[in-house]
Amino acid sequence: MTTETAAVPASRFDRARLLAWLQDYGVYAAIAALILVNIAITPRFLTLENLRTQLVQVAPVVIVSFGMALVIGTEGVDLSVGSVMALTTALIPLYLGYGVVPAVVAGLLGGVAVGLVNGSLVAFVGVQPIVATLALFVGGRGIALVVAGGQLKDVHDQTLLDLGSSSLAGIPLPVVVAAVLTVVVMAVVRRTTFGRRLVAIGGNRTASELSGLPVRRVLLLVYVVSGLLAAVAGTLATARLQASDPSSLGLLMELSAITAVVVGGTPLNGGRVRVLGTVAGALLIQLVRATLIKHDLADSIAQMVQAVIILAAVYAARGAGRR
């Protein structure tokens, strides 16, 4: 009898622990499982070209997701990232006449500008992040279409195209950029005061304010970084598409990024940023999509599977939070 009564609290404890483990490492387990399944059922899955394709396609999502992870770490959200990509892709061809560097700088400045507006609204005006960034989620693409004259433009500048298609030691450049940014963002989160402050603000804003942290400045900077990273992704996506298409580039990117962050184990209520988990979250979604496409299943199924993954991640996070 004694063992039975002891078993109930023990199993409850185990369940919470399991969910906590799932929140932290479930995404890696899911990736491993999906890779094994693909090796078994998908022909030519284990090829270098396939690996390259998946990594190149996921690179912009990973880069945008880093910005999103930092913002979510402060208990915020940035809905404008897809529109930033549109704005960047619209700006680049306008300035290519001056050369690649001015064009890319102009594109990146577009992202910084959007970040400044978002950050100001959140940090200084005190608007809820979801509302503040909703404005430019809607308006940003509009501005992009006005700037671009509303139409798709081909990009011919070889230096810019190389950003999307050339390789460094056999690794495609967008993947190199994403990998470098992974290291940088990890270092920022773990080793810098900025990183520690943003996590502190997400954990408890009032306490951070009372203890004298420059909360507003940190919040402003977080949204600027998110805008800048989205602009970097927009630049790489433009180079890869070899065209500027502001009406469709980055569509639904905010949802992919939020999914990657949440599935990667970063809690939506802030206070924690999981960088490698975010990379894994983005990879998982990419693998799901690739698996379904390779087996000729409809795109709508991929969306449903994505929804199930999000629900599972949120469930794990909620259960783990009850520890």
Binding site: V117, L121, D296, S300
Partner: protein, 354 residues
């Protein structure tokens, strides 16, 4: 508050700066120029279809030049088809001396298009040219127009209603036939056998359905040796076409032909094939639209053939309207004859693509 003002000013400044000192790579853009290109030609002989006259429809006569004509565009002018379509309507109106052409754009939102047309009616439009986003849901507008006896011509997509009663006539392409002709080109390119993949258009769109069914029916009938082994949506967008093709060439390396249901997806596929180190013509691509960008890929062998979907509705629409107002009998359905581009004519006729 000051921050909000400052922020708004910043964005406004940025936009101005972006527009002001821009210097683009090259200024020639497909679609922007030369909308006069190749005029549409009606295919259906007038005798075969029921006709409509102004008396039968019950509209009032008016002088087109001094009258108010409304044009309602369905989608953003972000792709060559819509750009060329709107430009063609505007330039033809200008040519005919129609001083009062009012144009609206529904921005791909059906509700907006409905209220656009209602606005046009309220502004006193005496005739309407509509490029409908959807086929259904037009009853409220049709009733309002009928009450004022306003003749309506729909272009490129049909409205589910009665010709010569709810609207006068429809002018457009036959998307099913476009699919069949694409299949004929694919059969030719593959020599009647092989495996084919389809990049579908946006789901739930009748253009997608018709272009798919036409293609499949024709293959089934004429080339049982060709198998369709893969079909995925590319949402009519270049990026999606590129990404899906990248997956496709790894999972189905035996695919010999690719049917893209619009030119943008075909161009995305070309970028994907180039990126994967394929050679021109290794995978035969056939697409539908006839944009200059796609047609100019034919001589190099990246695209085998393009079936045209002619967007230049201006001349035919206003000719039909003029005839109608003059009391002549006009056909209740005008199917235009689309051309096709392949290696034999692409070089010479690329200038007439849009």
């Amino acid at each position: 508050m000051t921050h909000r003002v400052r922020a708004a000013a910043f964005v406004a400044l940025l936009t101005l700066a972006a527009a002001g000192c821009a210097k683009s790579e090259d200024d020639k853009q497909a679609g922007a120029q030369d909308t006069a290109g190749q005029q549409q030609v009606a295919q259906t002989p007038a005798g075969n279809v029921p006709t409509c006259t102004i008396d039968k429809f019950g509209a009032h006569k008016f002088d087109l030049k001094s009258g108010v004509v409304g044009f309602s565009q369905s989608e953003k002018e972000a792709n060559p088809f819509r750009i060329a379509e709107t430009a063609s309507i505007k330039s033809e109106a200008k040519k005919l001396g129609i001083a009062n052409l009012k144009t609206t754009n529904g921005q791909s939102q059906f509700n907006k298009q409905i209220s656009d047309v209602q606005q046009l009616i309220a502004q006193g439009a005496q005739a309407l040219v509509i490029a409908p986003l959807n086929s259904d849901g037009w009853e409220p507008v049709l009733q309002q127009a009928a009450a004022k006896h306003i003749p309506i011509i729909t272009v490129d997509r049909q409205i589910n209603a009665t010709a010569c009663k709810d609207y006068v006539t429809f002018i457009g392409s036959d998307f099913y036939t476009q699919g069949k002709r694409a299949a004929d080109q694919m059969i030719k390119a593959l020599g009647g056998k092989g495996k084919v993949a389809i990049l579908l258009g946006a789901s739930g769109n009748n253009v997608t359905t018709d272009r798919t069914n036409g293609f499949k029916d024709e293959l089934k009938q004429k080339a049982p040796g060709i198998q369709i082994t893969f079909q995925q949506t590319g949402d009519f967008a270049r990026e999606k076409g590129q990404q899906v093709t990248e997956q496709l060439i790894q999972s189905n390396p035996d695919v010999g032909g690719l049917y893209a249901e619009n030119d943008e997806m075909a161009l995305g596929a070309v970028t994907a094939l180039k990126g994967a180190g394929k050679k021109a013509g290794q995978i035969k691509i056939v697409s539908v639209d006839g944009t200059r960008n796609a047609v100019s890929q034919i001589p190099g062998g990246w695209i085998s053939a393009v079936i045209e979907s002619n967007p230049r509705f201006g001349p035919l629409a206003f000719q039909t309207l003029t005839n109608f107002l003059n009391g002549e009998a006009i056909p209740q359905k005008v199917i235009i004859s689309d051309r096709e581009y392949d290696a034999s004519n692409a070089k010479q006729s690329v200038s007439s693509a849009y």
